[in-house]
């Protein structure tokens, strides 16, 4: 198709193309019948016209001949009257509009004009022809011109001219055409009726098909069928019937497929539902298991926290009063008492150590151990640890050698407390298991010249990019036999040392390994029976750019020492429900802060009242109080304008790192864990009061 849209043939063709099939059939039928009728009627009418014309000519010729004969003597004897009379006989024929007689020389001799003709019909035709040459009949506008010779005895004497009106002929033609048109219209009407009737036979099944197809498409109801035409809905045996049957079969197949698909999808849906139910059930189970595990874990944590608290509180009293006894100036102990007191203190510290180790292991295993790594000077940590171990080593006549001074790169990334703990473990082990008179050497190097492959255990996430600083503790002990070496890191396995009389829990190495791993370091050992053992730990090195300011803290000894007195007259408030602890602190204040006075309250509520009325300079507060706890009490102190600026120091048996952090976050000026050391408490008080004075 060319894109000539305005062309009438194209638009007519498109119009016909878009017609409904029924109207298409009707239009076709009408077109065909019209063509047939026109082809029939036009020759008939034309032929009839021709015949009528011929007949008229014949008649007029005859008439002309008669008149010519009758008028011949008049012409011959030049009698115009007689001639005119003869011509007037033509008035009987109404078709004649006029006539005239001409002599041989062309002169008009007589003429006749029919009444009502008006204009002379011969006007402009004077002297048309001579008598000899009459010419052929001529049809002119609505007129017939005819000529006949006038003869007397075979001799021409003139001519007769005749004009006939063709009006009647035209009327005849019109009548014929009218009849033809009437017949045509009638035939057309009949053809139209027939076409409609017959077209229904053809178009109805097609329409039914189209309707069914459209309905199926819109409603997706594949159970529909195209109905047949005629009686009983039988499908005709023609092409359209075949089409209908095929269409219905197609629908049937589609319906069947659709049904199968639906079945399949339903089955699938059911399966999905079942699987989903199973999945959600198992998810529920998992969730419950997780919840149970969480509950168990929480119970364990709570147990640990409680154990920590419950074990430390009595230890606090034991160690505290032992210290007080040693420090008492007014009632000096005897040397024997001092010796016993020394044993009590030592045993107490050992017990505390054991408790701490067990708790540490439990916390590590439960994942509750948190570290705060920082850049540390290895030399300082080593010196500190050696200092702490020196007393014990001295008891055993073991020489401690510090060989770390050679190395310039001595900063590692580690948790200070935990690194110290790990190193102390190694040193105390070395000291404990060395033969008397032996030597324990601490050396330090980078791992560049040591693959540390023998028995090395490394942390899960070792920082390889910066390299490790290796700390080595070498002893001159009996060494560890090879078969026992693989059990070295098993908890509570002392490798037969249980009977040796050497103190130990058997978990020191385990804790050390775990701590090192948590600090992203490695740990390992090598040992030869009879020569000694070397334990090493590697820790991530700190690059030169990361060097931090040197740590300022100093080593804190366990050994009781005389207190530095707290100068100034202060009012202090201690809120504590445990009478032993209360008594301990009261003694401390009595001995070391002689000018200050201390108030006490056994509950938070009471403490708040006292704080409001007495306006103490500082408050020491237990966290774990009956009723209102320390955090809540602090919050209330802070909301009251009268007590808002009083520094509050937390004193708690809960030494867990997260708990300490929580306390510092809540706004305590300091957090002192029980069993507290006197120095610690005094330092905290001093710091808090100094801050206050400075304000």
């Amino acid at each position: 198709m060319r894109p000539v849209r305005s062309h009438p043939i194209h638009s007519a063709r498109r119009w016909f193309r878009d017609l409904p099939i029924r109207r298409k059939l009707t239009a076709t039928t009408l077109l065909v019948s019209t063509t047939a009728m026109l082809l029939t009627a036009v020759p008939l009418v034309v032929g009839d016209l021709h015949r009528a014309q011929r007949d008229l000519l014949q008649e007029m010729r005859g008439l002309a001949a008669v008149v010519a004969l009758g008028s011949a003597p008049a012409v011959a004897f030049l009698d115009p009257y007689a001639a005119t009379e003869t011509l007037h006989t033509l008035s009987a024929d109404r078709r004649i509009r006029g006539a005239r007689l001409l002599t041989r020389d062309g002169q008009v001799f007589a003429s006749y004009v029919a009444p009502g003709t008006g204009v002379d019909p011969f006007r402009g035709r004077a002297g048309l022809s001579g008598a000899d040459d009459c010419g052929v009949p001529r049809f002119s506008v609505g007129r017939l011109f005819l000529c006949a010779g006038v003869e007397v005895g075979g001799q021409s004497v003139g001519s007769l001219e005749l004009v006939a009106d063709l009006g009647f002929l035209q009327a005849h033609v019109h009548r014929q055409i009218g009849i033809a048109v009437g017949v045509f219209l009638l035939a057309l009407a009949v053809a139209w009726g027939l076409a409609r009737a017959l077209g229904r036979v053809i178009a109805a099944p097609v329409q039914e098909l189209a309707h069914t197809a459209a309905t199926v498409t819109t409603t997706r109801d594949y159970s529909r069928r195209a109905a047949g035409e005629g009686v009983g809905g039988m499908v005709a045996r023609d092409e359209i019937g075949a089409l209908t049957t095929a269409f219905n079969q197609m629908l049937e197949q589609v319906q069947s497929r659709d049904w199968q698909l639906q079945q399949h999808s339903e089955r699938l849906e059911a399966e999905v539902e079942a699987r989903t139910a199973e999945l959600s059930a198992s998810v529920e189970q998992l969730r419950m298991a997780k919840s149970e595990a969480e509950t168990a874990s929480q119970a364990k944590s709570q147990f640990l926290s409680r154990m920590s608290h419950e074990l430390r509180t009595p230890m606090n009293a034991i160690l505290g009063f032992s210290q007080l006894l040693g420090m008492a100036q007014d009632e000096p102990l005897s040397e024997r008492q001092k010796e016993y007191m020394g044993h009590v203190t030592k045993a107490g510290h050992h017990l505390l150590e054991l408790i701490n180790e067990v708790l540490d292991l439990a916390r590590i295993e439960s994942g509750r151990m948190t570290l705060s790594t920082e850049s540390l000077d290895v030399g300082a940590v080593v010196a500190e640890c050696l200092e702490l171990t020196r007393a014990m080593a001295g008891d055993r006549h073991i020489t401690l050698v510090d060989a770390t001074h050679d190395l310039p790169l001595t900063r590692v990334r580690a948790d200070r407390v935990r690194l110290r703990q790990a190193l102390l473990n190694l040193l105390s082990n070395a000291a404990k298991y060395s033969v008397a008179g032996g030597t324990v050497t601490v050396s330090c190097d980078t791992d560049d010249n040591d693959d540390a492959g023998d028995g090395g255990k490394k942390g899960a996430d070792v920082a390889d990019d910066t390299g490790l600083i290796m700390l080595r503790v070498t002893d001159t002990g009996p060494g560890i036999p090879a078969p026992l070496q693989e059990h070295l890191f098993e908890p509570f396995n002392r490798l037969g040392a249980e009977d040796s009389g050497t103190e130990g829990t058997g978990i020191g190495l385990v804790i050390t390994l775990k701590l090192v791993e948590m600090m992203r370091g490695r740990m390992g050992f090598s040992s030869r029976v009879g020569e000694g053992s070397q334990f090493w730990i590697g820790l991530p090195r700190v690059g030169p750019g990361e060097a931090q300011a040197a740590d300022t803290d100093t080593a804190v000894g366990y050994v009781p020492a005389a207190c530095k007195p707290l100068m100034g007259a202060y009012t202090l408030l201690y809120i504590e429900d445990n009478p032993a602890n209360l008594h301990l602190l009261q003694e401390l204040v009595r001995q070391c802060a002689t000018e200050s006075r201390m108030l006490s309250a056994s509950s938070a509520e009471l403490g708040l009242l006292l704080a409001r009325s007495e306006k103490p300079h500082a408050i020491l507060m237990d966290i774990n109080l009956p009723g209102m706890d320390g955090f809540e009490a602090l919050r209330r102190l802070r909301t009251d304008a009268a007590t808002r600026s009083i520094p509050v120091i937390a004193v708690s048996a809960d030494g867990m790192a997260d708990q300490v952090q929580r306390g510092m976050d809540a706004g305590f000026a300091a957090y002192v864990t029980k069993p507290f050391r006197m120095v610690e408490v005094l330092d905290a008080l001093r710091a808090a009061l100094k801050v206050k004075v400075a304000r």
Partner: protein, 176 residues
Amino acid sequence: MAQGGGVGEYELKAAFLYNFAKFVEWPAAGQQEEFTLCVIGGNPFGAALNPLSSSPVRGRAVVVTRLSDPEEISRCNMLFVDALALDRLPVILQRSRDAHVLTVADIDGFTRRGGMIGLVSEDNRIRFDINTRAANDAGLRVSSRLLSLARRVLGDGTSGTAGAEGVGSGMEGNRP
């Protein structure tokens, strides 16, 4: 009518003579090869009769003959009687009747005197009277179509023509 204007009177009369021959029937016996037109008395036609010789009548060639003696009438078919032969009119008519000759003249009262066709001038037109009895007596039959054109027809028993004859005789004086 103007046919007398352009054409000479006797030329028209010659044409009339010629035409009369076509509306009259002669007895079948004694037919000759030629149709003989005779003129007796003077010759008023001059050469006007000459063209007639070339156009045949009833398939017969026309021969124009001048007569001086009435005894010669028997060889004529048509005879024009000139006024100069008026004195011998009875003899001429007698001979003509016997010889079946059609007599024509432009003499006043010719038909009343026993002539067959008399030419008259009227309203500047040439007309004619016919005496059917004289023609019948001579064994000639005049066509009814010719009769219908005649001014007067005598001899068929009608008597109302006498008055009209007076008019015709009145015009006779004008003739040269």
